[in-house]
Subunit: 340 residues, 2 copies
Amino acid sequence: VKRRPTQKDVARLAEVSPATVSYVINNLSGGNIRISDETRRRVWKAIEELGYQINVNARSLRTQKTQLLAVMVPDLTNPFYPLMIRGAQSLAEENEYQLLVYDTNDSKERELIFIEAMLRRRVDGVVLVSFHLEVQDAIRLLEAGIVIVSVGGRLRDAGFDVIATPEREAACDMVEYLLLKGHRRIAHLSGPQDTPAGRARLEGYCQALSQAGIAFDERLILPGTFTHDRTVELIHAFLDGISEEDRPTALFAANDLMAIDAIQTFKKRGYKVPGDIAVAGFDNIPEAEVIEPPLTTVGHDARNMGWQAVKLLLERIESEEDLQPRTVSIPYYLVPRTSA
Amino acid sequence: VKRRPTQKDVARLAEVSPATVSYVINNLSGGNIRISDETRRRVWKAIEELGYQINVNARSLRTQKTQLLAVMVPDLTNPFYPLMIRGAQSLAEENEYQLLVYDTNDSKERELIFIEAMLRRRVDGVVLVSFHLEVQDAIRLLEAGIVIVSVGGRLRDAGFDVIATPEREAACDMVEYLLLKGHRRIAHLSGPQDTPAGRARLEGYCQALSQAGIAFDERLILPGTFTHDRTVELIHAFLDGISEEDRPTALFAANDLMAIDAIQTFKKRGYKVPGDIAVAGFDNIPEAEVIEPPLTTVGHDARNMGWQAVKLLLERIESEEDLQPRTVSIPYYLVPRTSA
DNA sequence: TTGTATGCGTTATCAA
DNA sequence: TTGATAACGCATACAA
């Protein structure tokens, strides 16, 4: 481990001043800086020779820009988020930004830890997929000059950019699809009701039922978590607690992770899917294709969401004036397979 | 967006020198620095009052430590890696390090881009899950004082720490299991042979056959990629090209991603799994449980691998002297399910 | 067309 | 028990 060369070393070797090295590296030419081609060549040669690489850290201190973006997600083991991160990374990389990834494991405490860490780290922007943060928590980032884009609809209307799927409409469409298939008793395995995604999907469910003139039946709502936690038990408890004639003929789960757990549980208990009970999900994660029967679900392009998120961040970071808050709506589509 | 307070501001408010603020923040007390409790109180009060947060960047410049670790993975959409990252993050977080995640999408070019970026970024350590890097590429990091741990066995014996599952033994065990089930014609859907994981799993396959006195048949080796790319076509081509009597009764795939593609393809062509052909995989990703039939596979604890990787990194970063290269072997276990 | 000098926010050395 | 002060490596205003 040897000392790494600095611009000073390069300057010495190229027989120019450190400032000139900086000019060359940043390829300055506009304004009143004009470096001769001859000098540029000498500097680049010295850079090559020494294997000089800029110290991003030192530059950050000076420019007040870290070239660092962060992505906070609630559950990295939900395959939706790795896809999103891929999309985010592809654009970040093109622009020579790096991506900090933080999995909060669905914990409010860790969401707050994340905020503090980013504040200290002086990242340039963050993509928040938050389930628990309050607007005021996010505001702290804005005050510190850290740009935010919120994915998934919690944290709206707080002056930053939002990326969202029209969840309510999508859920409504899916339930209409089930109705079209002739189902009249449709249960809903919901997401947490303190998340906008959870709420919106429930609302869509209600809306479709009401449009079809079907009365809302509270016993058909299973309060889920969006995660693997406790979903299986929840289904068991539900089935144990309902009579055969009251049993729904279809279940709309608020996401695929839970839908898959549901299918597994139904099968384990000897119900045929979709014969005895049809199941539909939301997200179209890779497992949805693989499970038997393949899951009917709502697709939305995770990769695109990540890409768009970074796009909004970069635009805001690079823009001089304050941009108006923007909303990007991600298209969704029904993915009919055999589970419903 | 207002200017953020610095130690100077804190110092002014607390009526002490900036140095003292730094002492208090870093809780210095050993050596010849001894700050009175009264002063400490005043400083903390000022910190609270101003909402001061340290600038990690500036500190990095001074200390030459960024508190940044990076994880490079070949395919974030392989659920194995998100799990590994979770494990890595949990330990990193405890020690107030942040994690940079980089998905190379199995491209050598991007692996090299990653190296360069980390060199410029001055991260303290990297976890490499590399499929393409040469030892010399990694050495560049070491020369720059960046600590490395290599996961998965490529890049061995180059002076840095390694985390690996005994892949050969595990593969051998799995094939022995298939033999025990009475299979005599066992095909292998291999990983790329320029990766150690790919090679080791093939070796294990060969070893088990040879121990059972079964001749190696080259026609039963399908050269796979470890990814979804082209796996389905590969299987189709294989089945098209083989007579019914030559058809194997079992397939050992070098990872679950490919095993699952194989099962899907077999089913699509009307073969019963495991009746007509048994299938076994490697990794025990979440999908393996979900597919029909559930996949018999080899499990190894991805989360633990990530955790161990960061442990090795931190030990090396914090240690004064040069540690000897260490190897952590991750236990594996057969997960018998119904596909084989 | 290039060099000098300063400051970004810390930490660490030395002196008081 | 504390305070001056000098780096860390870079970018930039200003001078030459």
